[in-house]
Amino acid sequence: MRANQSEQESCGSQGQEPLPEWLSRGSSYEPSVDRDSFARRNVLALTRALAKLRSEVDPVGQRPWVDRALGVVTPALRLIGTLALVACVSMARNLAFAWLMLAVLLVLCAMRPAHRIAQIVGPAALAALLAFVVNVPAILLGQASAPVRMATKTFVTVGYVASLAQALGSDGMVAALRGLGLSPHIATVVDLALRDIVLLGEAATSLSEALSLRSVGTNKDKTSSAAGVMGVVFVRAQRLATARAEAMELRGYGLDWTGGRTRYRLRMADAAYVLALAAVVASFAYLEGAMV
């Protein structure tokens, strides 16, 4: 009876073909210590960090008051504002403006819950680190301050973009892009491109987890498997992005259902936002002028 039962179990669902011996055999394999798990662990850590970039939006009631206040501002305007800020920070020849904006960013961050702060500061710090490293050679060319300057600017710009992306969420981002008058198709592409950075992270995480589950024992070829992972990640991201664009289209996205966008009316919140933005640009002009 017992033997009979176990025989039945080892047959596939078709009930004819027995499983190959290597598969039905109980595993007695003991992996040797993997000294080279460094590469694998790092791919995992990096991709987990990327996956965190995916912005989740809290229900309105749970948002910090900054986001609730800013939430009333027209998304398109916030997008313009953030772009203007990024442009000012990148153009600034001295660091005073970047430091000022950094201070504002940190104050805005401080009002958010811890996991939200991590989602803004994490990517910004990662990007800043990269900018620092990339600019180290500039020291040899006599530009001793370049790494710090670039790292600061990168931190500030990425920080603002990340916090906007987090506050708007993907849906708000679509609204913002369309509010700028972009054609629905361009808006989709830009929006998907923005989100794909995040998708990539997620796909890479699941893939490298799959890789680390399969790579038992000592594997000499970690770099090539990591490269393989990244390759598959791109193919998948592309496939997913296409599928998602199709799903959006099928659910009516990109068609002008109401006939013409509703006319824009200036609201109090928008006016306040524009004033704040003007103050930022004025301080940019003042600080840049003062240092010349």
Partner: protein, 220 residues
């Protein structure tokens, strides 16, 4: 007149040499429940993509409500709107079709695109969340749901468009007994309401529970 009409449809994906559909013909009448069945790779999902106009036949015709579904028809915005509103497709892979920050926003995406009134959007969203037992999950992120929850969510998102023809690709995959029963009950009442269902499935029990007419696509 049939609601859906495939006549002698041939189709090959651009990246492949093989025909994914080779001379497929079938019809689906209004108010019917039909099931596309056949082995893996026989072209069930592909047929559904052609029906909603994501791809177009290289030979033969696909018609919906008597109108040709092809590239030139889809350039007409009025036709496309009508098609999008009347035909809903739930993909085989639920992951690819969830893209909003919360389940509730996901379900209301279609109605919002269609510019419905706020009350109507809310009513449809609440009803769909209830019908697919998603109320508890309404503020959760769709990509953090379980496989079966994702499938229910993806279905609710398409149902919220109130289509006349609901196409579902493997609707019972990954559903537990309770969710499966819920899905079957929903589809039955959908058909009882005079609407049309076209499922692509391997689940023969589902076919009999729906009393669906089978359309077999021959594999090769």
């Amino acid at each position: 007149m049939s609601l859906v009409e495939f006549s002698n449809v041939c189709f090959a994906y651009p990246s492949s040499q093989r025909l994914a559909l080779d001379g497929v013909s079938f019809t689906v009448d209004e108010g019917e429940a039909c099931a596309l069945v056949g082995p893996n790779g026989c072209g069930k999902s592909t047929s559904l993509r052609l029906l909603v106009g994501l791809d177009h036949p290289s030979l033969g015709e696909v018609r919906f409500a008597g109108e040709l579904v092809d590239a030139s028809a889809l350039r007409d915005a009025r036709f496309t709107k009508r098609l999008r509103q009347r035909v809903g497709l739930v993909f085989q892979d639920p992951d690819a079709q969830l893209f909003c920050p919360t389940v509730a926003e996901e379900v209301s995406f279609g109605p919002r695109q269609m510019g419905l009134s706020t009350e109507e959007i809310e009513r449809r969203t609440d009803d769909c969340l209830r019908m697919f037992d998603l109320e508890r999950l309404r503020d959760r992120a769709p990509w953090r749901l379980s496989g079966g929850e994702k499938r229910r969510c993806a279905t609710a998102c398409v149902v919220s468009l109130a289509p006349d023809l609901l196409c579902l690709d493997e609707p019972t995959n990954g559903l537990d007994d309770a969710s499966r029963a819920g899905m079957v009950a929903f589809l039955r009442s959908f058909v009882a309401a005079g609407k049309t269902v076209l499922v692509a499935t391997h689940d023969l029990q589902l076919v009999s529970e729906l009393g669906a007419r089978t359309i077999s696509l021959a594999g090769r």
